[in-house]
Homo-oligomer: 274 residues x 2
């Protein structure tokens, strides 16, 4: 029986894995993290990362995670099975499968690694933004539950409500958990998917759209996430091309003091029917 959903932070209910004693764990969809159809994709990513993290022979911290969304996850219980593909000197490769009633709903590959002291540099340029408190909290035309767990302050590219097409698909906003919660790798994996579909800006309205595959690169060390605590992140995303019913969404997640914590890319299907 699931008992964790009603206590603590909603994200901790999301990643409340129930290990099966082997390479698997059970999970339950959390109503607070619901999306248009099924759970928020970022919640699925966070859960899979947590299952891998919990393996006794796991080495290092998350470096890369790709999750593919093959089919909607139904409300209720699901199972994630992980496999250790290979352990190298400084990194480790995993695969994962999420299923419900014997049907595969998501697959994933993950790389964990030991971070070493080497030459480092942040080459991307952090967008300029005022203090989070200087922007009003975002209002979301979409009736999706999961966004209520985030305090979002839009600097650029608010979700449109039947407007002329925007000149660019760029969105930049401050975001933190609401209620507040410390940042860790599962939280960062979920935040990587917090952007609404860029096609909404291109068309000036919301249309059916959903992530097909999402890849996140975790640049931050655990110590860097620790230093963020429960502070806001600066999140920025844009598309490069919309074509044939698919577009990409390239995003960055920054700490307030200018550390690029993660970069992420996803490919999203969309329709343009009104």
């Amino acid at each position: 029986m699931k008992t964790g959903q009603c206590t603590g932070h909603p994200l901790d209910a999301v990643i409340d894995i129930r290990p099966d004693g082997g390479r698997g764990a059970d999970g339950w969809t959390v109503p607070e993290y619901g999306n248009m159809v099924g759970p928020f994709g970022g919640a699925t990513a966070a859960f899979i990362l947590q299952v891998i993290d919990a393996q006794a022979d796991r080495v290092g911290e998350p470096v890369a995670l790709t999750v593919t969304y093959a089919a909607p996850i139904a409300d209720g219980e699901f199972h994630v099975h992980v496999d250790l593909v290979r352990t190298n000197r400084t990194n480790q490769h995993w695969t994962a499968t999420l299923s419900q009633d014997g049907e595969v709903k998501s697959t994933a590959t993950a790389v964990f690694g030991i971070r070493r002291e080497v030459w480092s540099d942040i080459e991307a340029v952090m967008p300029t933004a005022g203090e989070p408190a200087s922007y009003p909290p975002a209002t979301w035309p979409l009736g999706v539950a999961f966004l209520r767990n985030y305090d979002v302050r839009v600097i650029d590219g608010a979700p449109p409500e039947d407007e002329p097409p925007a000149p660019s698909s760029l969105s930049t906003f401050w975001v933190r958990h609401d209620p507040e919660r410390h940042l860790d790798f599962p939280a960062l994996a979920a935040l990587a998917d917090v952007f609404y579909p860029r096609v909404f800006l291109g068309l000036g309205r919301s249309v059916p759209a959903g992530t097909v595959s999402m890849t996140t690169y975790f640049h931050a060390s655990a110590a860097e996430l620790e230093r963020v605590g429960d502070d806001y992140l600066l999140a920025t995303a844009r598309a490069q091309r919309f074509a044939g019913g698919y577009f990409d969404q390239a995003a960055q997640l920054w700490s307030r003091d200018g550390v690029l914590l993660a970069t992420t890319n996803q490919i999203v299907y969309y329709k343009d029917s009104r």
Copy 2:
């Protein structure tokens, strides 16, 4: 016995799959596509894509491909097994495993999809560049075989030979097959990995580095690739962050007439030891 390697274009030897009658195929490393250690990662990606493409129940064209490089592939024969995870109305999810002597060397996930006539837009901005013939052919300090299959004309960011660190990790160049060959999806999957490691520019010299995981989004339709023929592509790549022994490499591949054919991202391990 492998007979295809000595005829035709070297890339066609790379993707000369030998189906095993089920969900698998055998392949052989091609000396012309050798890298520092093992085969060029782009060749592995192209092979896996080709195996999926050859499945009788495959639907649509490549949309996304993630390949993880868990261990070096030894010279010689290897086996790729693919699984069909799910077929939806307009897209299809696959996984793949490349092994040698029972050891997994690479894993992959792929999405294929049917492209539809919908609202489309290219939002990224193509870098400006002169005619390919106005730049001399690149010379490569690294003694890697696979680059000899490409005619590369460097506009920005040539590979350094013990120089001061470059101000940016950006490289932009024209590239086409040498000898010439028409562009198709396997060729595009391979080209997505044609950039040398960005850390070389950051440090001003080559250091041990290798792709850990690579994701490519195919924005182009088969008809758009057909229109490119054997013409040059404009290829541009840069890193966003180098930290802890890993950096990302974000890249675009453009047709000469301004179509964004693919966007790709990879995470690469590196050392800084001299």
